[in-house]
């Protein structure tokens, strides 16, 4: 029996898509510049079906890509031409929510925000909050070690995953981790998080939940320059405060957000949002210190949210900024490089210079607390060569981040988009180690083929041996 016939025996009609029109929605993810036509899409509803599909792929040597809602901005869930797409959205049950143990056991297709929604009646929540959290799935968050605005204080997805059930690319099912916050032996589940689907597909995920902070103090400060806002972040850190989030938007991003959601932001060159969170007595004391620091930072205007509605209004503009930029330009590329916090000013100045040099506008929204930039490179795909120039400019920004001691990606992952830049950040031996691990777990190279690892890495030892 051929591969498709065997798939048909496994999946009833309606849960196996193989016709052109059915496949079209799966040809790309949120990085729409790339498209690939898969051979078929399956929609499993139980983990046994995922395991069977992976085993079938292994037997027939067919590459596969698992995906959730397809919100990857780095092309991480782009199909392999002629391969299988395993769409996990129907595996969206929260299998167990144990408030006493502070854990949730979920299927990979559960939407991030849904976990917090279900945990809310118990005063608990799931901390990692990528901007895509109303749509993106936990399985995808695990693959990309997703972040959000609160990573400085709470860390990324990896810290919040306690256990995983995984099917390896050869079809073996393995449980990694446990239900305790602590473990013994190698942190294999921690290692799996962030490997972008290259080492297998998650079938079940155990998440740690946290008590929802009791009090918030949300401050919005306007500055006359981006540099002044950046300096304010340094001053906050130097004062010994540990805010839950610190976000900066530049003029272009502010204008876009205003046009889109009318958040009521003051007009300024830059806006800084600082949010403190914790027990109410502690937040009260922290707020006094923050007020002093912000006053000394030369803010032109300061607003403090007096109610939950005002707090939400401040965040609404920030969260809408990405999509709002779409109003300013027909197309844009979003990057998410990271720089050490103390070099934010330098990075932004250089981005400004590059923007001039390439003649393309760049809007900046970023997680200032952890140095995670989100430069949005605006372009018009209908104009000749503008996409290429935008990509070149985005590439220059990535190189800049690595040069300053940062990273190619804070939360979007390498995917297909940034794999060519991996040698900028990693030495050939680092990349070889990744390849050796990939090969050991996936000898046929089927799982999310073509992502993360750049082509043509030369073994430096072999090279030395031959010459």
């Amino acid at each position: 029996m051929g591969f498709l016939e065997e798939l048909r025996a496994l999946f009833p009609p309606g849960r196996l898509l193989s016709k052109g029109a059915e496949l079209a929605p799966y040809e790309s993810d949120a990085l729409t510049a790339y498209r690939k036509r898969p051979l078929a899409v399956v929609l499993p509803e139980r983990k046994e079906e995922v395991v069977e599909a992976v085993r079938l792929c292994y037997r027939h040597g067919v590459p596969f890509v698992a995906r959730g809602s397809g919100t990857s901005l780095s092309g991480g869930s782009l199909p392999v031409e002629g391969g299988l797409v395993i769409a996990l959205n129907r595996m969206n049950r929260i299998l167990r929510l144990d408030p006493k143990a502070k854990i949730a056991v979920v299927e990979p297709g559960v939407v991030n925000l849904e976990v917090s929604r279900q945990a809310a009646p118990f005063g608990l929540y799931y901390a990692p909050d990528p901007s895509s959290q109303p749509i993106s799935t936990i399985g995808g968050n695990v693959a990309f070690n997703s972040g959000g605005a609160h990573c400085l204080k709470y860390g990324m997805t990896a810290g919040h995953v306690l256990a995983l059930e995984v099917v390896t690319p050869t079809g073996e099912v393995v449980r990694l981790g446990g239900e305790s916050l602590e473990g013994v032996g190698p942190d294999l589940h921690g290692f799996f998080v962030g490997t972008e689907g290259l080492l297998g597909v998650t079938l079940e995920i155990t998440l740690r939940l946290l008590p929802r902070p009791e009090a918030y103090h949300t401050l919005l400060a306007a500055y006359g320059s981006l540099e002044a806002a950046g300096n304010a972040v340094s001053q906050v850190i130097r004062s010994g405060l540990l805010p839950g989030a610190m976000e900066i938007m530049d003029r272009l991003a502010i204008e876009a957000a205003e046009a889109a959601v009318k958040a009521g932001y003051p007009p300024a060159e830059a806006l800084l949002i600082v949010e403190l969170e914790g027990p109410k007595e502690e937040v009260e004391e922290e707020a006094k210190l923050l007020a002093q620091v912000i006053e000394e930072s030369g803010a032109l205007e300061v607003r403090i949210a007096q109610s939950e509605a005002e707090r939400q209004a401040i965040w609404k503009g920030r969260k809408a900024a990405f999509s709002a930029v779409g109003r300013l330009s027909p197309d844009y590329i979003v990057q998410d490089g990271v720089v050490p916090r103390s070099r934010l000013g330098e990075a932004l100045k250089e981005i400004g210079r590059l923007s001039q040099e390439y003649g393309l506008r760049v809007a900046n929204v970023f997680h200032a607390g952890d140095g995670n930039l989100h430069p949005l490179v605006l372009y018009d795909g209908k104009k000749p060569r503008e996409l290429e120039r935008a990509e070149e400019l985005a590439g220059e920004i990535l190189r800049l981040c690595v040069r300053l001691g940062g990273s190619l990606t804070g939360e979007h992952g390498i995917g297909v988009e940034k794999k060519a830049y991996m040698p900028e950040m990693f030495a050939p031996e680092d990349l070889l180690a990744m390849e050796r691990v990939k090969e050991a777990l996936d000898p046929k190279g089927l799982a999310n083929r073509g992502k993360v690892l750049p082509e043509g890495v030369v073994d430096p030892c072999l090279e030395g041996a031959h010459g």
């Binding site: 990573c151 393995v174 013994v184 804070g410 180690a433 993360v452």
Partner: protein
Amino acid sequence: MAEVRPTSLLEVQEAVRLHPRLRPKGAGTKPALSAPREGEVVLDLSGLRGLLQYEPEEFVFTAYAGTPVKEVEEVLRAHGQYLPFHPPLAGRGATLGGTVAAGLSGPMRERFGGLRDFLLGVRFVDGEGRVVRGGGQVVKNAAGFPFHRLMVGSLGAFGVMVELSFKVFPSPRATQTLRLTYGNLAEALAAMERLRVLPLDLLALDLIPPATLEIRLGGFPESLGKRLKRLQEILQKEGEVLAEDEAHWEGVRNLRFLEEAPIWVKVPSTPAWVPKLEDLPLGPRRYLAGGELLYAGMEAKGLASLRQAGIPHLVLKGAGDALFPHPPEAFFRQLKLALDPRSRFPLG
């Protein structure tokens, strides 16, 4: 006993290429993990020490793996910062590398998380003598395979750690400890379970059998008194307040309560498992971080009872195989083959 003591990355590579079987060792504070087995050469990493980079404003430092935790903490303290996962045995000389290899966190892990939440990057020498880097030196990073997380609890199975980068936080400005003793274990457990789910930002929440809770608060001195009072109201109990509590918690993290026991064991736990663990013939012990982590001292029969009950654990001191159970073959074996194909390192 054969021993090599490299003082540079190159010497580590050389040692790895030269010796078929190696047992990495820091300060030897977890002898069950660092004592050589038959045919192994000890790779003493205490010569690879010192801070390589520390910028207080970044909340990040990078140091050689053989650096004593205490040495790092002194530098951090001068800038009002600390390692929130509170590495154990620091007072006895524990090194950063040994702490990561053993995968150990201390009582203050309750507030912000454990070792795995604070390790940002690693440079290690794999089983072929090649230098590999994973992670980085920024607090947010999703690039490449996270080899640094693979090192946590690895017992050195995949390579010799040479450099490590950690996230740090500003230290609490003041601390206070509340000690409460209950009538029996069930009452103490009930109080602990209640505190676990409240947004109180406790630095530490420990259960000392049979029925004592120790709760550490940290923050602005102006708010501490109010928070302590609220805690007493929630628990409807005054308890005993230790205002000068630093020395007490140093004793706890250095596992002083295990001093007399011949065997020291780390057991991952949860509050629900506490009654079951309490039925075993264990010696002196303390549940850290709201019941998520047990450090227990015992004699041979205690260890045997843990094995018999199938409870995962790691032996830090005393006889026997250190790790129970062995990591899951289907994933571990392939990783081991990829990074240490000649099985030079532990867990072969």
